[in-house]
């Protein structure tokens, strides 16, 4: 089982509803952003192109719930764990706030909660999905760009989307951690 979020990048309009909804739902400390939106570009469409022949897309970035999570490997206490549903979770009672995981994560999506002295990150809204709901960012998305489901179940909506997208499927750069989350990008060139 591998819960993940599939993002149709073309439909992301960078409205930040996901970022704010995540804050409201999960209340990470101010300055910590469990889900954020990156603007990729604009870049010349082809080399040498100038305005207006440029293109860009938006990339909602959060914990990728990797299949081979480096953050779990480096955790000295076992606080960071890969769970049965495929999500990566932090047991805060075991976390000592050493931040090895923060350094190990290639995507910069883990944050130290200074007050509680523990590391935090996107939990895929565990509190919602265990009750059959979906992550708050997915519910909040105003572009209908975010989709949640089990990528290991070939009949799931997300698996079917990924299968149908073919070569348009992308992942954040993989440095051996095998990020689970999927990005689908049509029209523009993937530039990561």
């Amino acid at each position: 089982m591998q819960y993940a979020i599939v993002t149709e990048c073309n439909k992301c309009v960078s409205c930040f509803a996901c970022s704010v909804a995540c804050k409201v739902e999960n209340n990470p400390p101010l300055g910590n952003h469990w889900t954020k939106i990156l603007r990729v570009g604009p870049y010349p469409i082809n080399e040498g192109d100038v305005f207006p022949n440029v293109e860009m897309y938006f990339l909602p970035v959060k914990c990728q719930h990797c299949r081979q999570p480096e953050c779990v490997s480096v955790c000295p206490t076992g606080a960071s764990q890969k769970t049965e549903d495929g999500t990566v979770q932090i047991n805060k009672e075991m976390c000592i706030g050493c931040q090895f995981c923060v350094m190990a994560c290639p995507y910069g999506v883990r944050y130290l909660n200074v007050e509680q002295k523990v590391v935090e990150k996107c939990t895929m809204c565990q509190q919602l999905i265990v009750a059959g709901g979906q992550p708050e960012c997915v519910s909040a998305c105003t572009g209908s760009a975010l989709h949640f489901g089990d990528l290991d179940d070939p009949s799931s909506e997300v698996s079917q989307m990924v299968a149908a997208a073919g070569e348009k499927v992308h992942h954040l750069p993989d440095v051996g951690n095998d990020p689970a989350s999927v990005y689908i990008l049509d029209k523009q060139k993937w530039r990561l």
């Binding site: 073309n10 439909k11 309009v13 960078s14 409205c15 930040f16 509803a17 970022s19 704010v20 909804a21 804050k23 409201v24 739902e25 999960n26 209340n27 400390p29 101010l30 300055g31 952003h33 954020k36 570009g41 604009p42 870049y43 010349p44 305005f51 207006p52 440029v54 293109e55 860009m56 897309y57 938006f58 805060k92 009672e93 509680q116 002295k117 523990v118 809204c125 509190q127 919602l128 265990v130 009750a131 059959g132 709901g133 708050e136 519910s139 909040a140 105003t142 572009g143 209908s144 029209k187």
Partner: protein
Amino acid sequence: MAKDNISRRTFSKLGVAAGLATVLAPGSLATLKEASAEELAADTGEVKRIRSHCRACGKMECPIWVTVKNGRVIKIEGDNTAFSSHGNCCSKGRNAMQALYHPDRLKYPMKRTNPKGEEPGWVRISWDEALEISVEEINKIIDDPECNGWHSIKVLHGTGRTTTYGVESFTPVVGASNQGSTAGQVCKGPRIATGAMIAFASPHWVASNDGAKCFFQWGTNQEVSNYDSAGKVITEVKFGSEVSICVGPRLQNLGKECDYQLHLRPGTDDALAQGLMNVIVENKTYDEMFIKRWSNGPFLVVDDLEPEPFEWINKYEMPGAYALTIKTRLLKQSDVVEGGDPNKYAVWNNNTNSITYWDSPSGLWEGETAPAYPNPETDCEVYYPRYLEESRRVPSDPLAGLHTNDPGFPEFLNLDPALEGEFTVTLKDGKEHKAVPVWQRFCERISYWTPEKTAEHCWLDADLIRETALAYSKEPGMGGIMYNLPIEHTGNAADTCRTILCLSGITNNVDTFGGNRGSDLLYFLYNTYFQYHTPFVTSVFEADPIQAGYAAGAVNVETGEPSQGRFPLIPWSNQVGNAAIIHDQTSCTDQIMTGKPFPIKGMISCTGNHFHSGNATANWEAFKTFQFYLGWELWWAPTIELADVVLPANHFLENQCVRASQNGEGGFGPMVKIVEPQAECKWDSMSLINIFTPKMKKKYTIEFNPALLANPIVPTMESATPGDSYVPWWPKDKTNVPFLGQFGETEWPTDEQALDMSVITMKPMDFMGGHVMQAGGPTELGMEGAPLVFDSYQDFCDTYQEHGQWSLKKMSPFGYYKRYMWGWLRAPQGYYDPTSEDYRVTGKPGPLGFPTPTGKFELWSTILESYPAQTTYQGEQIEREIGRNDDYLEALPTVREPYESPYSTIIPDDVKAEYPLVLTSGRRNPLFFHSENRQQPFNREIYPVPHFQIHPDTAAELGIEQGDWCWIESRRGKIRQTADLFCGIDPRVIEADHGWWYPELPAPKHGWDLSNINCLVDQYAQDPVLGASSLRAYLVKVYKATPDNCPGGHVVPRDEDTGIEIITSGDDPRMKEWLPMSDAEREAL
């Protein structure tokens, strides 16, 4: 350490145990932590989920679900069943709790103790004392012999929220003409008014969620904006469209996905619209039947006609009837024969080779005795949005709409009006004159704007213009054009708006399914009286329309004559104003400072500020001089720091009122009061009306029109004796207003009574033609629609909890399109005749056609022809018009170069050299609504400082790197923002954020002058028709902020007096203090 975990576990259990919807219960997690200790202890309390409408931005009507636990709002989410919003709920709505419970909310009445411009030294007072002071001080100004009564009080309000209705109702009651909403003149005002001039009010509102074939946004990014269909609807509609077009200077968030992206030079929208029409005319891809039958394209222009003036009244909006004087060179019966009718317009009938007349008031062609309605059986079909799944394609679906195919001219008329040719007509002077159809003149006017010429002017590619025009006109009715604010901000607002509307018109996209359908008419939609007008009062402006002409910009500064000023169409525009009632901000600020032609010495505001229109600095200096200023507010925002007395206003979650889509979506339902107002807050609108206004002295003195006094449907006039009269909000004697009977003798309704009135008016009753709010007419459900009936506002709210949003499309005449073919765009002919049985009747169709002087969609604008545009700038004659090779002036669309541009002929070359960049501004930031939300931590932390976008090549030339603080400077002022290097913008253009101030900096300024882009505005660079100031498309220079060029050597902006720096990052400890917390938690910080 594990506080968070414990809460989470505890709460998950609670949620499951309570058996609540899974998305509901755990959502309380965040706010649980923010709740007080007592609330935590009482954690077993009641959880309620209330269906309501959001109002966290100014314009959306998003239906929402609000979760309340222990009396505290803990979650806001979109209502997925809402057809008008598709369940949208943006960052501002989801986080509205941080505004509601913000520690800096204004909660008590206050009065100042220090002079204006200093730290005000606010002290808390009682409501009674606040009112006592205010009534005395406002009366002093009204009594002042130097002043002009209520015209000497400026009335200000913010963006259309629950905060605007009071001021918009109050002004006609007391007769205060100087109402200027913050935004009206630069937001919607010109679009609404020019729509009313040539078609009908508010046609810029597109029925976008109809899912048209063509997605076309012009000067807007609605995906992150604040219109009814913003966000979710727009992205879904775009991805469901066949072809998509986006016009705007920059690469945009959703625009980047469009098939045709036209990144034009700021301020050249007028030329582009003509250029696109030029291609459509060349290729004959316009809709000829629409032009012949419904536009004034076939009307005949006689160049050497000496026009005789006649009066025309727009029988369209209630209340009031502001007459315009029309002088047109269109050929009328009165020009041909002595004693002829000026309302009969001539066309050349190709079939008979002779003149035939269209009678505008009756909407009939010569030879017709009754309207030629389409046949519902053969001419109508139900349309569904392209994105709608098959299973929902049934007429009862809220998204289904009734489309009408044009059956054409009735055969017996034997009519084929000529669109081209030169005809000889004999006028009543006995001489022969040459007459040419409007369409030919229209085509000649736009012939200047070839694709090549347009491309050069607009900095676009000629082929792109050609392809876009042909894609849009592939067939008639491809979809409406969503044209929004920017086109009102470049010194040619009225003309640009109407030109784009003409483009939509000639391709048959006006009043169509998915087209420029406009909102539902004030005239039919009764609830809006509650919001914007007083239905049972003969307002001072109706009794004596000339009083409206004392508005700044409309009154002549030299002579003091009403309606003889620089912008004589302003009072008329207010009457069709809907939510955008305006005066001229620039003239008002000057009037405050000079006292000419009479002083404006006081102000009453319900929110609103000084930096969204005109020049911010000039407005601030003017507002500082007010003898007395009373304002309702939620925050210590900069402008309110100039007030004398401040009253605390409710947040939208503490208010309730009727909500209806502004767009053509037709969504309808209540905003429900979620929580009780905090401390001493009140609903500003109603407290202005039912607490403040009754205490005012009866000051208004005019001679009321005896015809109105005798009118049985204006019962308030019975108590309004001429001389020293004063009209209450409701009539004491309600005999003639049957549905008000239940309220006894009440003249000043309580909040509850006003709310009840707003829904009981929907009931069918023997008054105003049998329907007050809902009238019969065809819908896809049959000829009578499905009216709603409620007994009280509470009943309305209760029913809504179960039902959810209603579709006005299922009622009529809201439900269908091409209203001009059915008589639902015009009032019956006897509407203003007290002796007619149709006097003030709203329940039946009027004449066919459009509510314009000619009764047609006016390609040739008779109103703009009659009221020529201003040709002066700061007293000097100027010429900005381009490509106008005829002398029809404003009758036909006119292109104007922005006042300050690289090609402007009215500024010297050295200015162009010193200020080489074209500035545009006002890009929507999805985290903020204009100046709002800067003190809400979850919004501000994502975007702590203002940005401007600049092309990397330009930045490199200037030595500017990503994130650098820079000065942006115009000839008027300079401010600082941070650079965002963005190659999706022309190297000759920059785009700067608007609306900035810094709540973290001290009173009185809160840093508004540090980064607010409107400090740079030339308030005299105005639209020559309606006065909208050029908030974009002017020249600036940009340079890096360095210790050498910054006050005190501080590159990051700070308050000069105290040295306090602005917040520049999300982890600034001051942000933490803005989180909603209990006092104990705050002290522990």
